[in-house]
Amino acid sequence: MILRSLRLRSFRAHAETGLEFAPKVNLLYGPNGAGKTNVLEAVHYLCLTKSFTASTDRYAVREGAPYFEVEGTVAGVREAPVDVRIVYVPSEGKKVFVNGAPLDRLAEIVGMLPVVVFSPEDYDLTAGGPSERRRFVNNILSQARPVYMDDLLKYRRARKQRNEVLRQYKGRRESPPSSVLKPWTEEIVAIGSRVIQQRHDFLNTFSDYLTDAYRRIEAVAEKPSIEYDTVADVEDLRAAGATTEAESGPPASREAVAAAFRDALDRKRGSEERRGTTLAGPQRDELVFRLDDLEVRRYGSQGQHRTFGMALKLAQFFYLRDRADTDPLLLLDDAFGKLDRRRTDVFLQLLASDDVGQSLITATQHRSFAEALDFETSAHRAFRVDRVEQKARVRPADGGTWDDRAATDIEAGTPDDRDVVPDS
């Protein structure tokens, strides 16, 4: 897919900004706090109805404005270009419009405009807690399979209900009677085992994508792998399943997963009653990343964390491309800031190649990009983002007219400009 144009209204630092993008690399450069990342966030809102940062919708509204609006025109998804618009009014919530028609459910847009984000936070994929890794898997599967997201949302709801039962009886210092708890147990087992099964099958396929992606950015012959820790050993699930194929991914049988999940809940029952919450299930899944035998989370070097994180995102790109039959949009938020020169060059070459589609990149300076990419061609475009009178200003900066003031500005830094997010 190609994002042709984008319009932001009252979105974070942007009062009113319009951009026309080039089909390959689009560089947004300028000082910190000017509003570069905001553009990427706005695009992310169009694709997945939320930001890739942890912040809430309310803070995305520009200070003093009653609502925000983001609109984009996307080619390569349907035959004719599609106009997607998202509006958020704090008292009314979000609404998504496709070609002017409102969607009944926000979730319907997810997967239509596949997107992959690279950011310095990718470091946490390997170095952070298990929830980061579950979020990663949820993001990919939600974009690839609408039914997965439906299951995931239902699972969360059912688990909340079950937790409420446990909590209520904990408060009364009683064991919940089976007649009350069991229907909820069966509900989370039914939905949760679908979630687990889909994760399991996904990871089987995904590991090949990861190996490929890793090779693209690192010449060393280490082999990355992913181990899936869930309610039961994946091996057990396979053994109990219908197939007994070796290593390369026999699907786990739904019944085997459900039985394992039910067993795990039975075993935890006493603790669940004491703590008043559900203690087994996909919400406690963990992924273990390895390079050969080395567990990256514990023993990886900084460089290995960075490379592994990039490889995961790159693998996400190729996986989604194969599922969606279109190039996902790449959003690189200051992704090169901590990379060494060699990896940066490898990555920029990849971005310019035909292997990937369109990308939007933020950076504080343009130099390394201007050397590696030809912004004179129509394939790439650079934008200079500044903060003028408390507003973000975006101007196309073509190859010949690099704004040299940028470099000095950046070196000096403009930290006081960073408080652009309304506090309300």
Binding site: K160, S179, E187
Partner: protein, 269 residues
Amino acid sequence: MQFTSESVEALVEQFTKLPTIGRKTAQRLANYILKMDEEAVEKIAEALLAVKRKVQRCSTCHVVADRDPCPICSDSKRDPSTICVVEESSDLLAIERTGEYRGRYHVLGGVISPLDGVGPDDLRIRELARRIDPDFASDGDPPPLDAVDADPDGEGLSGGSPSGASATTAGAAGDPGADASPKDASPEERSNGADASSSEDADEGRVNEVILAVNPNVEGDTTAYYISQLLEPFDVSVTRIARGLPIGGDLEYADEATLSRALEGRGDV
């Protein structure tokens, strides 16, 4: 906005108590009512009071109706051997509009949702069981399922009498004695003795099938499961309506989750 009239303000305030009516809409409604003929306003007021004064619930199926039993329950042409279980009266009307269903109904009054403080006893599930077996917890005992297990002190949802009283019926419940609390009187006793009574009655008025027409969401699923477990000991088949594509909906435009489920639940041609 400031009102110069307290009556208008009071009316606005009352309107905002209705669902989906915010303050602005309430003001618009109040202004409109100010301009209406007194006669027309009286009609609205009468209609409002009438639904509270005249409308009651059918004592059999619990649908809102002007008389008891309701027209459906008193219609001898309706098949009493099939009961369609719905969440609310409005769901009943939706199924009636199909003109395809000739059985009777049972209105639960909601679904099980702990987060909303709704447990099985807050719904008309016991009443449903009694329609299938009149002996089911017939003498006003505490609900057969929880009261015994969960509520030895009688302080829970049901507020019923102390445990033990419902010894014969409790075993008929979905999950005999699997989780009896320590204080509970002998679970074995409860699990025996219960099954005998159901098959005795003459076939007249016998219920053969219970169709669960609850919504296809988490709460609906759980309520369906609860009811199916509760009715398991009885000689009645419990079914659930299918989920899938809307008729007249284009496959191309169906949302993917629905389509995936429809694919999953496909049937032979």
